[in-house]
Symmetry: C2
Subunit: 224 residues, 2 copies
DNA sequence: ACAAAAGTGTTGACTTTACACCCATGG
DNA sequence: CCATGGGTGTAAAGTCAACACTTTTGT
């Protein structure tokens, strides 16, 4: 391949992560403020240019750590974004990842070399975003909504286990719906995403809830 | 962004399409033989380098046409592939697309400038493929299996309409399962992917089958 | 013993599966 | 009128939705 051919010279790859959390029933996403051109001063999702010596997911995790200090997340690739002018500088294709984590468990660096003011934004109060990150965020949220009912993506949010009532609040926040407690419990157990740990949560003035944990491997269910 | 930084200079994007067909109950995929290095003489999926002036899907369709003469397919992006050494020449990230078409309706160019011997291969008789195309094909088939039960991707295979018995053969070929005729019909109609056309197919020595067509818009179904 | 939230079970509605007969057409 | 494959109905099993009472704990 001829790298000098102007049809495809000067291309690059972005790895972008929409990292979500849920705080008191509110779904939030991590945004950072850019300190460089293009889009200087604009809010964006965490991410940046993929290096030549790393796989896509590695790059997304490195960018996440560099720009926010966050490590130990599980992320899932969900879509590539490649409109011709999505970056004003050169031709960049973005590979989007989604993940979710407990914001209280991470030490968020609010200032780094290239970013400032890293913070969690409620998904219904998102400021204008640079690049095509509004589109990426929109698709990421849809992907998150799909993933929570068929993968163990929420394992990163509850690494030490979770009770069914906690899960219900989380699902209600992410899916923006209310569920019947009894039916939610049955459905959750049927989805086969979690397993019993034979422990109960802390005593808080009422009957303690059983603690479950997300399984490590989830198997796909067939529709046909 | 500094294009000279060796951490991320000389990157490029592949757009790769796994184009399927079904012939007499056998699922096949379109492969071409490379005439250039790298992987000269190897079989690969259709695709190539994305141009700077086209979106991802445009690029995939252009490559498909250039290398096989095929036009008028609907394709769906399903995943990006970005292992560091997936291309031996330079760092390339591939964006994978999947589509399906009736092989009898297309005029397949078996020879082009860069490829030769384009042909349909049964998915259980795939030769060794160049690049990481075996992985891409594997994932593409899984994606196709998902798509046929929840999108109108089969519209490209049956642009003029289809009968339920024909559909059943197609589903059985792609999912590699057998279904009960009566229940298949009910499920198919319930999936809400097709609609009645009030016509019947050709007369072939038995009761003619009703012709349905795939809807243009499909709405997602919720699990919760 | 009371407040607060967790846990559980049943009924009716709906959906899915299994299965057998009749129908329309061409030859 | 027969061979071929298309179309339909029903009963039993299973799943889902709606709904109210009992349990465990801390105070």
């Amino acid at each position: 391949m001829d790298v000098k051919n102007k049809l495809y010279k000067n291309q690059g790859i972005h790895v972008i992560t929409a990292l979500f959390t849920v705080e008191q029933g509110v779904t939030k996403v991590l945004l950072i403020k850019r300190k460089n051109e293009p889009f200087l001063g604009d809010w964006v999702l965490t991410g940046g240019a993929l290096y030549n010596n790393e796989d896509l997911e590695e790059g997304a995790l490195r960018e996440l750590e560099e720009k926010t200090g966050i490590t130990g997340v599980e992320i899932k690739q969900f879509k590539a974004f490649g409109k011709v002018h999505r970056s004003p500088i050169m031709r960049m294709v973005a590979v989007g990842f989604v993940g979710i984590i407990d914001s209280k468990r991470v030490n968020l660096l609010r200032e780094t070399k290239n970013t400032s003011n890293a913070d969690w934004f409620p998904i219904n109060k998102i400021p204008p975003l640079g690049f095509d990150h509004e589109e990426i965020l929109h698709d990421a949220l849809l992907e998150l909504q799909k993933q929570i009912v068929k993968s163990n993506i929420l394992k990163s949010l509850f690494p030490d286990g979770v009770t069914i009532p906690e899960l219900q609040k989380t699902y209600e926040a992410i899916l923006n719906k209310k569920f019947d407690r009894r039916n939610f419990r049955k459905k959750m157990l049927n989805l086969d995403l979690i397993e019993d740990t034979n422990t109960s949560d802390k005593f808080v003035g009422h009957k303690p809830a059983k603690v479950y944990k997300f399984k490590n491997k989830i198997e796909d269910k067939d529709i046909f």
